[in-house]
Structure formats: C-alpha cells, structure tokens
Subunit: 108 residues, 2 copies
DNA sequence: ATCGTTAATCGACGATAGTCGATACTTTAA
DNA sequence: TTAAAGTATCGACTATCGTCGATTAACGAT
C-alpha cells in the first residue's frame, strides 16, 4: 500500500488550500478574474470596499502561491490573475490520489 | 461583464477550501484514502499519532462537507472517504470561472 | 529637493482555529 | 443493571489569522 502523506507534504498541500480559505480572498480572485485588464490596489479597494492595508495583505498571500501576479508601474502595483497557477492548483482528487504537491509556477 | 462573487457565495467557497486548509486534515484524508476499508477512530489515532479528541474534531469537520462518511458500528465509528465529494470539490478554476458553489452531495 | 500619490509594512486588537486532558455519552457484553 | 470500550463533547490554553489605523517607503511631478 502506498504510504500516506508525511507531515511536510501535508503542510505544503494545506498551504495551497489556505490561500483560498478566506472569503475576502475569494472575492478578490473573483474580481480580478472578471476584469480583462490588471487592476491597481486603489481600484480594488474602491470596488471591494475593503481597507487598503487589508487588500494589500491578501494580495500578498495570493501572490506568494503565484495565484496572482504583480507588476509595478510607477507608484502603482498592477495585479492580475495567473492563469498558469489556476490550472496547477491542486484538487481534492490530487490529495486522495497521493499526487505530488505542485510547485507554484515561475512566471514572467 | 459578469458580476464578481458576492460575500455569501465567497464564504461558501471558502468553507470548502477551509476543510483542506490544515495539515492534520490533509493527513487524515490521505490516510483514509489509502485504506480500502473504513477505519475506526481508534485505528486512526494509533496510526496518525494525533490525540483522540483532536482526530474526532477533524473528522467532524471533514464530515460536515461530506468529504468523509461515517457509519456507526457498535461502539465504533467507521470513517471512509466519500468519492462523490472528492469529485464535486471545487477547484481554483471554478472560482475563476464563476461556477456556482457546489453543494456537498447527499450520500447513503 | 520637496511635495503628493500610491502601496507596503507595522503594531495592535479581536476573532477564529488547533490541540490536549477530562468528562459525558452510547452501545455492547456480562 | 452494571461495567467496559469507544467516541464525542467540553473547557481551557495557545497560536494563528483577519482587520484596521498609522506609519513608512517608493516613485513621479513640479
């Protein structure tokens, strides 16, 4: 029988799911996904109604697993969905099947 | 343009991902997935090395989203993976594409 | 160089979540 | 009915997380 996941792998898997385990982050992802163009933090703050520092905090978490990509343009930061990461994001079936934990893809 | 997810839907999505956003729960799922037969809480406690009340607590969380199914047999509780739920578990792409939040499937 | 704009970081607070030991509950066996 | 076994729940503690306001840092314009 195949061995169950060790603690280290389990934590790696969990860190992926943690990125989407918050309603605010789900909303930010949903918002970015519905805009063709990248959005600045200020725009996101306006539309979402969440505080600026809070938005920045959540975007950082999403960026750490490369779910979103950031590009600095002048004094602004442009955030957009990383389509590559969306497709590499692990599924529940991956956990059950014991698939190796994906690494966040390196992009631009 | 399609509307981004509202708060209520975002929280429903988040509650799915929260179920797998903990390393211990990932390990329990992984363990159950690799055993053909259902396991009792006692067996899971032995193999996982986690305290009995902690195991019970995590199994309850997994059962609430029907990721695992429980069947009482005598004084024991038999837990097993719910294959239906594994396949209906939302993916990151579902969030991005604005797919309706899945309902945990009703089983047996 | 300074000022204004934008975003990231810091510090603090309350809320939530994970863990454990102890206790209560449920079911079977005697 | 009692006792024993197995599990769920409770209470407490700690750690982590989400949020906000304030501050700092980075950049462009004047």
């Amino acid at each position: 029988m195949k061995e169950p996941l060790g603690r280290a792998e389990a934590e790696e898997y969990a860190s992926w799911f943690k990125a989407l385990a918050d309603a605010t982050r789900i909303q930010l992802v949903s918002l970015l996904a519905r805009r063709r163009e990248p959005m600045t933090v200020g725009e996101i703050v306006e539309v979402s109604g969440v505080g600026q520092s809070t938005v920045s905090h959540h975007l950082k978490i999403l960026a750490e697993v490369r779910f979103v990509l950031v590009e600095r343009r002048g004094t602004s930061s442009l955030y957009r969905i990383n389509e590559n990461c969306v497709s590499c994001f692990p599924t529940a079936a991956d956990v059950v099947m014991g698939k190796p934990v994906p690494e966040p893809p390196v992009c631009d």
